[in-house]
Amino acid sequence: MNLKNNYEFFTHLLKINLKSLTSLRGAFLLQATFMIINNLVFFTMWWVFFKKFKSIKGWEITDLCALYGVVAFVFGVSVIFFGGVRSLAKMIDGGDLDVYLTQPKNTLFYASSSQSHASGWGDVVSGIILLWFSGYLTFGSLPLMLTVLFCSFVVFVCIGILFNSLAFWMGPMDSLARQFYDFVVTFSIYPQVIFSQFLKMILFTVIPGGFIGHLPVSLLREFSWSNLGFLVVGSAGFFILSVVVFNRGLKKYESGNRFIGVGTN
């Protein structure tokens, strides 16, 4: 009953988010379209690069295409389903969690999924296009593809929660959290073969871009149980850590009196 109710609640929340987005139809279409163009134009830089060089330490244009595809898709899905994560620091600092705290649903889940960003639809479409062109999106690889995308998605959402939850202790750090977030995206879209061992370690811990882009694509290139285990354990670790940190922080929540309504960004 509880699971069924929560499922109904989540699907209704998605419906209402989509309705809220499409209530401003022009803005929705423009944002989604421009994001598709933005992602595809950005990728042409690599296309130009690979016209001159065949590969970077074994990584070819199809691999980069898959890397961009995974990151764009995961970014898109996360801001569509959990768009509130990007605003958590602002909500914490402005006291906007009050509404969620007085209602009988999980605060983190409710606050995170109460916003959706139109640009995410553009990311999802461009992600699918890039994955399709990479050649890794085949019927046979679908279970593995979905598994790595899901793990990457979990890590991506969870690091957003972690960065933004720092606002419980550090106060107004909305823009800093966004910068961290963008930092992770930037490091996700480069093949980690170009980095030193030390930097690689950073990219699987402090700035875990490696879990979002490199490791999922490595698994698509060459499957190994150990890498899959590393990805699954890593994503589960980030999930637990983000929930624990958020709930710890909630005890330090100080509310506020900023006048704002639900669904505004």
Binding site: N5, E8, F9, H12, L13, I16, K19, S20, S23, L24, G95, D96, L97, D98, V99, L101, T102, Q103, P104, K105, N106, T107, Y110, K251, Y253, E254, S255, N257, R258, F259, I260, G261, V262, G263, T264
Partner: protein, 328 residues
């Protein structure tokens, strides 16, 4: 007897960074900031019976909102015990969520870009309401609060009064046992205030809902509640019935008269003339010495009244009366 709310020695401290002065001070504060502790709520204790309507009033910054946030599970108290419907708000927040309704005058639970009806449908899922029971409850509240014509309009296009009626409906959809209202009439005009107050009282009387209302407007307390707690600087100054507060401290009303005649003057016990302008007169009336109706009747003997307003004293004045009475 089980109480709806039982609060014992509730205290809340906030740690605030000391503001630095000047450029050098700001740089120093960046490296070694100084913090001060500010006590927003200071050792408050009280109990509320089920079905009681209690006004928690005080001037701005008195600690009203902090108290209501601790009782509704938003904030954790620094020390003290809170029990709401037998639950501990900070610990049993999910369970408590099903039993309480909240309205924050300065914060909305309605989706800004969507019609209020969409938020109501979402709340039915939030509170796991049976679809048929939800429809019946919604229809009943929509009719009572006269918001049928507002249900299809985006919330961003509603007036403050219209939005507040929708907010109250949203808080009552799941039939809460206790409703916490934090400044529900803030910013509303006289008519909208009156509608909101009457509807809250009607719901409480009909279903035995406990009402905990914070306000800095004495009118909210007089028209909705039976009991009042006055707080200032986080401490309880008064805890008794509205009648006793009125008898002891709210002895004055401010009357503004607009007359057809240019001049007006009369003498009566407890009447103090504050302002005299052509056609407009403002006077303070000590109602225990001369009732308002007598003052108006006397004024009518001397002039034709074109307009008339009777106002309650400001919350700050009530607090002053209480302090003065305590000293005496």
């Amino acid at each position: 007897m089980s109480y709806a709310v039982a609060v014992s020695n509730m205290t809340k401290d906030f740690v605030l960074k000391e503001p630095a002065k000047g450029f050098v001070g700001n740089l120093k504060s960046l490296i070694s900031p100084k913090f001060n502790t500010f006590r927003a709520v200071d050792n408050i204790s009280f109990k509320i019976e089920r079905g009681e309507r209690l006004a928690f009033i005080g001037p701005n910054g008195a600690g009203k909102s902090t108290s209501i946030k601790m009782m509704s599970g938003i904030l954790h108290p620094t020390s003290g015990d809170i029990s709401v419907l037998g639950l501990t708000p900070g610990k049993d927040r999910t369970q408590l969520g099903y039993k309480i309704g909240t309205v924050f005058g300065q914060r909305s639970q309605l989706w800004y870009h969507l019609p209020a009806g969409d938020t109501f449908d979402l709340l039915a899922r939030v509170y796991d309401l049976n679809p048929k029971a939800y429809r019946e409850k919604k229809n009943e509240l929509v009719k009572l609060f006269e918001i049928k014509h507002l249900l299809d309009q985006p919330v961003r296009k509603l007036s403050l009064g219209q939005r507040m009626r929708c907010e109250v409906v949203a808080s009552l959809l799941h039939g809460p046992e206790i409703v916490f209202l934090d400044e529900p009439t803030i910013g509303l005009d006289v008519t909208a205030k009156s509608i909101i107050r009457d509807l809250i009282k009607e719901r409480s009387q009909r279903f035995g809902t406990t009402v905990f209302l914070t306000s800095h407007d004495t009118g909210d307390m007089e028209r909705v509640c039976d009991r009042v707690i006055v707080i200032n600087h986080g401490r309880v100054l008064f805890d008794d019935t509205i009648e006793k507060l009125r008898a002891r401290y709210i002895k004055k009303k401010r009357v503004t008269l607009m007359t057809a005649e240019e001049d007006l003057h009369f003498e009566a016990r407890g009447v103090n003339w504050l302002e005299k302008k052509p056609h407009k007169f403002i006077l303070d009336v000590e109602v225990d010495k001369t009732p308002i109706d007598e003052v108006i009747a006397t004024a009518l003997k001397h002039a034709r009244i074109r307009d008339l307003t009777v106002e309650d004293p400001q919350m700050e004045d009530v607090i002053k009366f209480i302090y003065r009475a305590d000293k005496e």
